[in-house]
Amino acid sequence: VNVLVVGGGPAGLACAIELRRRGFDDVLVLDREAEAGGIPRHSAHQGFGLRDLHRVMPGPRYARRYVELARRAGARVLEEATVTGRSADGALEITTPAGRDVLEAPAVVLATGCRERPRPARLVPGSRPEGVLTTGMLQQLVALEQPVGTRAVVVGAEHVSFSALMTLAHAGAETVAMVTELPRHQTLGLFRAGAALRYRAPLWTRTAVSGVHGHPRVEEVELLDLDSSRTRRVACDTVVFTADWIPDHELAVMAGLELDPGTRGPRVDTGLWASRPGVFAAGNLLQGAEPADVAALSGRHAAASAARWLADRSTWPAPRVSIACEPPLLWISPNAVSPARDEPPRGRFALRSTVFRRSAAIEIHQDGRLLWSGRVARLVPGRSASLPSRWIGAVDTAGGPISVRLAGS
């Protein structure tokens, strides 16, 4: 095998297609699900494929299309194949219905995606009833025609939270409220206005879920008003914890990759080269979460780097200078610059913030030297702002860490 791609979602499949296009024979994609395609398989709404396939389609069709494109391109896509470990020499141990196997390749691309933080990880107290979901589980329940309850509270107000709202409506459940700890929603104004009209779900801002109660199923949630510290109880039988993404980094940790403390995904330089030779990372494993087409383009980007590595395996780009954000900025991706000075995916960095800010002035420093300053149109928590990449030419790749901050903060 020339290249092992772990994860058959948009990033992994796009990576495999690009590697085949560049003439590499043996490209194997491992996917642990019964059907490859990743998260879009269950996202039964429009809006997939604009940036990568240049046409828009619903999630399930987009997922099928990618698997088909990968197979047609000559990549092998092995489903029901779970990587369960990594041996000392770097080989991957896998389990499939055909048995156990150990696979090695000169290049490994990790594209294992991300998941939503479930309730326990958010430390929401109360009882442990059934009916506490994430958007991921909700979408699959509906796809498998399993019951999802009748009165739901949606936690979060990002794009995916509105997607949960649509899924609930489709399943015949009423959304009693959407709640967010932030002062406003984080999706596009148009989505929000449309959702308010169509689904009539009120949005309660500056509101935290401070308890989940009921047995054996959810009966009510306790909501805390963060400004007045008052609590109230709202009857419901379903709670959907949305967004708050975390990269699925178990395999990256097993592979001994350095993680970025901000994204919690592997630290990669602008060519998506990870901290160990021969290992690349792409898609939403790097940062939770970008739209599927952005993840796919990231996979394509990693393929270009992997192709260079396969052509000449004499040097791995090092040393690397890490990029860190100062609060209230949350993370930046990619988060390292190496002497290779590759362009980042789509020619830009993704920047996240914990606060809302219009026309935010950003400064990038290294060792007290200003590398770049400028403005980004808008910072919204949970959504990436684009930062240009032209300053990477000015980085001293033997210097200290790079810091990104809000000017005047």
Binding site: R100, P125, M137, Q146
Partner: protein, 462 residues
């Protein structure tokens, strides 16, 4: 009914770890035995929500029944577990002093451990940090109790109940006991889940409700006040931080907050100890979680950098007494097994042995069955290979290579086996305790819907 002889020899009330152990023990004899449980499943109350430690009893009050039974129970379970497929690991424990006055308590603890027959030794600060390099700073020393261990709290009661059922014990779930009467000719009449049962002997292992059952029989020896313990389970990626169980120096009311590896490969932090009124209130609280996280930060700061996988709370059956409330009312044929506070898992097999022997002395005929079932539970622990890592099992049955729950690496074959088992699960929680599905870091994000569908398919077939 009242003039006929009782239909059964013995009824055990409560299918927690203690009741199930007693039912298993009694079902080895030629007896008509019934195990009744108010809840929907075996081991679904206090038995499923605790610290899952296998105690040596080193710190028990010498001379008490608890001290004796925990020590004997440790011995019995350590021998039974590998045979029955119950995950058990002898990790050893380190009881850490964080202040001088805690260290001053060491001689007394060592003395007590010696009296209880438990191995113990003092460990200096340097050695302590060599044994647990990630421990928070400021420890003043520790005691090592090498025989303390961890055990699977889910498989243990299920193994006991499965063995009992296979040996002919009649298991009745969703059968809360609402009435008990004494029969004129000796024995008891019970109403349980709408059925009327008569029995010669009766065992009360009703845990949190053992005082209520005791009162139905006219006794008034103790009152159970549930003591709630909240626990936090950290992501498996944190497992390499902790080698031993890290105990605190006990105070008057609690054993303090401990840190322990679990047999599933996680790290557990807890418990809190709060007396509550409601015997069903297994809710975690904001204050409890904040307290645990603060304690965790002190004991092992690095741990808090990991994701929390699960939060739960359990209720210990505490009473106003310091020892177990285990009384054999020999003439009437009634055994009250109450107040088994927090050592029930460790002592369960010894409690069962003790109850069997006492009931034998009280006239229960004990003739060993010619043939006894051999129970081998599916392994859900990390200490031994699980099906996903066993090529020979996958070769026999491809479903063992078909992983459904990725976080916990549970195969479709294991889920199918559990759904078709002798005591099948009735809900997701029951399936979780039998296989580990949904126990992992994603909490169902990936496989929750598929697992729900498998469970409802199995239910519709039944």
């Amino acid at each position: 009914v009242s003039s006929a002889l009782p239909e059964r020899d013995v009824v055990v009330i409560g299918a927690g770890v203690v009741g199930a152990a007693i039912a298993r023990e009694l079902s080895r004899f030629e007896l008509r035995c019934t195990l009744v449980e108010a809840g929907p499943d075996v081991g679904a109350g206090t038995s499923k929500a605790n610290t899952a430690l296998l105690h040596t009893g080193f710190d028990a009050k010498p001379g008490t029944l608890e001290a004796r039974l925990v020590r004997r129970g440790h011995e019995l379970l350590a021998e039974y577990a590998p045979k029955a497929g119950i995950p058990l690991e002898r990790t050893g424990a380190l009881l850490v002093a964080w202040r001088d006055e805690q260290r001053a308590a060491f001689p007394g603890i060592v003395e007590r451990a010696r009296e209880n027959g438990s191995a113990i030794r003092e460990v200096g600060v340097e050695e302590l940090y060599r044994l647990e390099p990630h421990l928070g700073s400021g420890a003043h020393g520790a005691l090592e109790i090498p025989d303390e261990g961890i055990v699977c709290p889910f498989t243990t009661p299920l193994a006991f109940a499965t063995e009992a059922v296979l040996a002919g014990c009649d298991l009745r779930l969703r059968a809360p006991v609402t009435r008990i009467e004494r029969l004129a000719q000796g024995g008891f009449l019970l109403e349980a889940g709408g059925d009327t049962l008569t029995t010669r002997f009766l065992v009360n292992a009703a845990g949190l409700r053992s005082d209520e059952i005791d009162r139905l029989l006219g006794h008034d020896g103790f009152t159970v006040t549930p003591r709630r313990g909240e626990l936090v389970v950290f992501d498996k990626l944190s497992r390499s931080l902790v080698e031993h169980i890290v105990l605190a120096v006990p105070t008057g009311t609690t054993k303090g907050v401990l840190l322990a590896p679990t047999v599933f490969g996680n790290v557990l932090l807890g418990p809190t100890a709060d007396d509550v009124q409601d015997k069903d209130d297994t809710s975690s609280t904001r204050e409890g979680l904040a307290y645990l996280m603060a304690e965790g930060k002190r004991i092992m700061p690095e741990l808090l950098g990991y994701e929390v996988t699960a939060v739960y709370a359990g209720l210990r059956a505490a009473t106003e007494h310091t020892d177990y409330q285990l009384t054999i009312h020999a003439p009437e044929g009634y055994a009250c097994v109450g107040g088994i506070r927090s050592t029930g898992l460790s002592a369960s097999m010894a409690i069962a042995e003790h109850v069997r022997s006492e009931l034998g002395a009280a006239g229960l005929p004990l003739q060993v069955k010619d043939e006894l079932p051999v129970v081998r539970m599916p392994n859900i622990g990390e200490g031994r290979p699980r099906p996903y890592a066993q090529p020979e099992r996958i070769a026999e049955d491809a479903d063992y290579g078909r992983i459904v729950c990725f976080c916990e690496r549970v195969s479709r074959g294991e889920i199918r086996d559990a759904l078709a088992g002798p005591i099948p699960p009735v809900d997701l929680d029951g399936l979780r305790r039998r296989t580990r599905v949904l126990m992992g870091r994603c909490q169902g994000f990936y496989c929750g819907a598929q697992v729900s569908a498998l469970l409802s398919d199995a239910a519709s077939l039944r």
